[in-house]
């Protein structure tokens, strides 16, 4: 369990994390979402005692990380895959970390095997690909068979097999009653893996709820309708609480009515409808809705695709 209370980190007069409080429960996978620069990594670094909070406290399994007698057995963390001496072999890196807690050599071999690093374990870590470096970081996090796992962007650079492995691993560990706290920018991945989400933006918590609730709570259900007489149907559907958008000549997007009601209206008025698809809100939609005002670093071409194209070509 991770408990943060009023956690604040100020860098050069600017609050990277501004007094966040949250609890990460054991027995489930908690996702940590937020735009770049929102304070995710800083928060995780404070949990691990790498950064000293400007104010506030954070405890893991009841104690600040540094006060545990066997920190590697309490928390395993992958904060950045580059926390390795580039000239040292993966095996020796893990061996050196294991030695601090008198973790047996056999466990080092075990995590190397678990993460699929056998073939490269004796090679210099500096030559590793992004994915291999990530695997080594995960191996280091698992070394102490910790109660709590903190993973910052664990699937970054992993191949599809690796992504699946991480998903299964964190699910398995959470089912074992362990605490899993992970961040990712891959929304579909997060939707599949996490039970609970904490969304942070500009150093503040914007949402802290179960995944289903976050997906469901943000948007009204929409239905995609394709019809040969779009303007006629559009006029028929219009009414109290119903919003109809025409995106293409024969395509409507209807909010405020479900597909059965739309079909009913079309049938009564003998309008041909050849597609009727309920649009499920995705975590991605929910995420964009939540963070649209909190994004610190807007992409330059932030308009729609056409606008982006226009901006891009305008300079030519």
């Amino acid at each position: 369990m991770i408990e943060a209370k009023g956690l604040t980190k100020v860098y050069g007069g600017k609050a990277a994390v501004g007094g966040v409080s949250f609890t990460v429960q054991a027995g489930q996978v908690t996702g940590f979402l937020g735009p770049n620069g929102a304070g995710k990594s800083t928060t995780m670094r404070m949990v691990m005692g790498l950064d000293r909070p400007t104010s506030g406290t954070v405890t893991v399994n009841g104690l600040p990380y540094a006060e545990h007698k066997a920190p590697l057995h309490e928390v395993g963390a992958l904060l950045d895959a580059k926390a390795v001496h580039t000239s040292r072999s993966a095996y020796n890196h893990l061996l050196a970390m294991a030695a601090t807690h008198n973790i047996p050599k056999s466990r080092v071999h075990e995590v190397i095997e678990m993460t699929g690093l056998e073939a490269v374990a004796k090679k210099k870590a500096g030559g590793f690909s992004l994915g291999m470096g990530q695997r080594l970081g995960i191996a280091a996090a698992l070394l102490g068979d910790p109660q709590t796992l903190i993973l910052d962007e664990p699937v970054n650079g992993l191949d599809p097999e690796g992504v699946l492995w991480v998903r299964n691993l964190v699910r398995y560990l959470a089912d074992q009653g362990k605490t899993v706290f992970l961040s990712s920018h891959l929304m579909s991945e997060m939707a599949q893996t996490a039970d609970h989400l904490i969304v942070i933006g500009r150093g503040r918590i914007i949402a802290d709820a179960p995944v289903e609730q976050i997906i469901a709570g943000t948007r009204q259900a929409r239905t995609l309708v394709r019809t040969s007489s779009a303007s006629q149907l559009s006029a028929l559907l219009a009414g109290e609480g119903v919003k109809v958008d025409q995106s293409e000549a024969e395509t409507l997007e209807v909010t405020g009515m479900d597909s059965r009601q739309i079909a009913q209206v079309a049938l009564e008025n003998r309008v041909l409808v050849y597609e009727l698809t309920p649009q499920l809100s995705s975590l991605e939609d929910a995420y964009f809705d939540l963070t649209k005002d909190e994004v610190e670093y807007h992409s330059h071409l932030s308009g729609g695709p056409t606008e982006a194209y226009a901006t891009a070509t305008a300079g030519k």
Binding site: A66, K82, A83, D145, Q147
Partner: protein, 297 residues
Amino acid sequence: MTTMTETRTPVRSTAGSGSVTFGGVLRSEWIKLRSLMSTRILLLLTLVAIIGVGGLAVLIRYSVLENMARTARDQGQTMTPDMMEKSFPPGSGFDLYNLPNAGLQIGILVLGSLAVLFISSEYATGMIRSTMNAVPRRTPAFVAKAILLAVVSYVITTLAAVVTFLIAMPVFRGLGFDLGWFTDGVLYSVFTGGLYVSGVALIGLSLGTLLRNSAGGITVLVGLFFVLSIASSFMTFIPGDFWKYVPQYIPSEAGGRFLSIGHTDGVIDPWQGGLIFLGYVLLFVVPAMIVLKKRDV
């Protein structure tokens, strides 16, 4: 809050359930030190270089003394080894008891730089974050590094001193010098040279910690132990007696004085030199430990 820790079942896994122990941290740092090929090669070359430079110094002193003896012989006089030795003032670099440490400057340069790198390379590569994850109290990791560097520096320097003296003995005996392990100051020289280099290594480790930068740390170290001693020799040209006494208090001179024997008028005694040098070591080590504990990594 304590209920969490109380109700949890004890960790029983293949990872064991050991706590962080200082012995473990020491072993971890030892694995780090020996698992870098570059460090192993560097240590071996350092040993060879200290002996090599020492051997060269032996050769130079031999040829000077031999020349002196030959000149005397040509003039029909005999010059006893005792007379030859007396013709050089103490501390002029011809004290034979000091031969074991003839190559010491190389040791200072390389082992001091290695000490800087031992921690600054962790900052450069990001390894420091893994180190602090495993040892979040931080201080034990620094102390373990300090102990290892001090011991490794001491062993290499002392070993090189012994070999250098083994080379020197027959050479000077050939000139008639009664030179042996129990000649005044020889054993003192053999055993203190390593202490001095260990001290330099601790300053190097502290510089690496404070500056978190390899090039910066090594530059400051070289400045302290090589440039400063050259600069301070110019101080003696400043009129007034005061400036003549200042240079002996800089780290390299105080440390060098620690390695010599006997009282010389107007110069600090060896034990005073040793204490001053120890003061310098603490001047770097203490702030480094405080900063390491407090600073974000």
